[in-house]
Subunit: 215 residues, 2 copies
């Protein structure tokens, strides 16, 4: 059971705190806003009103006892930088800080944050990457561990031997649908073209990976 | 080459537009703010100043010709709802809308958005899930396609046969490090305990999946 301290219970900090608490981790949340604390107090182990720019207050929390500390303050970038500096000085072992802009992200990294996240920016990249990845037309379970799916490849092109899907993703192409033509058990030299629909099989995990990766 | 329309060039919309444009997709961006358009115009195919609540202006864009339309307006939730309704009415085939709150997310889903994202909230869940997943102590490449890594399991417990890592993740446990003891080639009945360090091998894709999944 690991211990997490979340500084700032906005949308990002609250979502982290609730997910960790639901997984039975020990979660402590602090925020300078009473309303924010009221909204989260029943969902975590401890929630306290605290100004994270107050270094003494932070020290009293025993920051070095937490496995992970998250500074989830956004708009108030002074507070987010001060809290990051203070948390690191108080011995935070692994510090994740949220930034609203690239400039603040660079400052947070240089003052000691171990990880910096920019939720809006990072989610934009992630969603775009998922759109670039193959899309599932139909899928069903084959036994408890495997997925069979028809996927549309968008930008995937090249011979099957060059694409090496089994090696890279654990995915086997068992048929290729092009217009009216179905090629079953395509050979290694078969050339995939844009718009082809592939019938693939793989474990659930392999399939999810293939589905989320732009190729 | 697919065609994307991004309505709203804030941090989320711009990150999506740039990622798609870098992958050679056709990207059109509209925003009511001249400053936002100036910042993105050199990175995409077309960028125009447009008020997305103006249904006629949206219609002139030929919304139904895009593979994906993204309404990336945040704070102004009236505009984001109106743009979503207008885009759907204009024939948007696949519509993704961004919401800043759960309430707005529900409205967007009910007025026809095919997907609704809440970047701050979703990123909080995602980051928490990654923290709950096994963490990598060391890792190196074994040949071009495989990863060998020592991972710390945090919450992973149970016998190897019950955990079924090869089936679920394609990952093989080749040794278990507990305190001073190393057990090589553990049997199926070997009980993994919290804090154990596992030496695992798998393809790059399988390993990344294992590393990102809470177990
Ligand atoms: N000095 C501070 N000490 C503690 N908490 C703070 C401090 N400054 C701001 N906060 C809290 O951090 C939380 C998140 O910050 P804010 O709402 O400014 O950013 P945001 O980018 O909108 O956040 P989110 O996207 O997570 O909702 C708020 O609940 C706020 O009360
Ligand atoms: N009616 C509208 N038509 C077109 N664009 C709009 C309209 N209203 C707002 N926008 C644009 O949408 C963009 C993003 O919106 P806004 O900044 O309000 O939300 P945000 O939640 O802060 O966004 P992000 O997190 O993506 O930065 C801005 O560039 C803004 O100019």
């Amino acid at each position: 059971r690991r211990q997490y301290l979340i500084i700032g219970a906005g949308r990002f900090g609250s979502a982290m705190a609730e997910t960790l608490a639901n997984a039975d981790q020990e979660v402590v949340v602090v925020d300078s806003s009473e309303a924010a604390i009221d909204a989260i107090v029943d969902k975590v182990d401890h929630a306290m009103i605290l100004d994270a720019t107050n270094e003494n207050a932070l020290l009293k929390l025993g920051i070095d006892t937490f496995d992970v500390v998250v500074v989830a303050i956004g708009h108030n970038f002074e507070a987010s930088i001060l809290a990051t500096v203070a948390a690191k000085a108080a011995g935070a072992r692994h510090l994740i800080s949220k930034a609203n802009t690239q400039m603040v992200a660079r400052v947070l990294a240089s003052v000691g944050a171990d990880e910096v996240v920019r939720p809006e920016h990072d989610m934009g990249i992630r969603l775009a990457s998922q759109l670039l990845a193959p899309s599932v037309v139909h899928a069903f379970d084959l036994g408890p561990d495997h997925t069979v799916a028809e996927v549309e490849t968008h930008e995937l092109e090249g011979s099957l031997s060059k694409l090496r899907l089994p090696d890279k993703f654990g995915i086997h192409v068992i048929a290729v649908h092009r217009g009216e033509t179905l090629t079953v058990n395509p050979s290694a030299s078969f050339e995939i073209a844009k718009g082809d629909r592939l019938l693939v099989v793989g474990s659930h995990a392999d399939f999810a990976r293939f589905h989320e990766e732009p190729l």
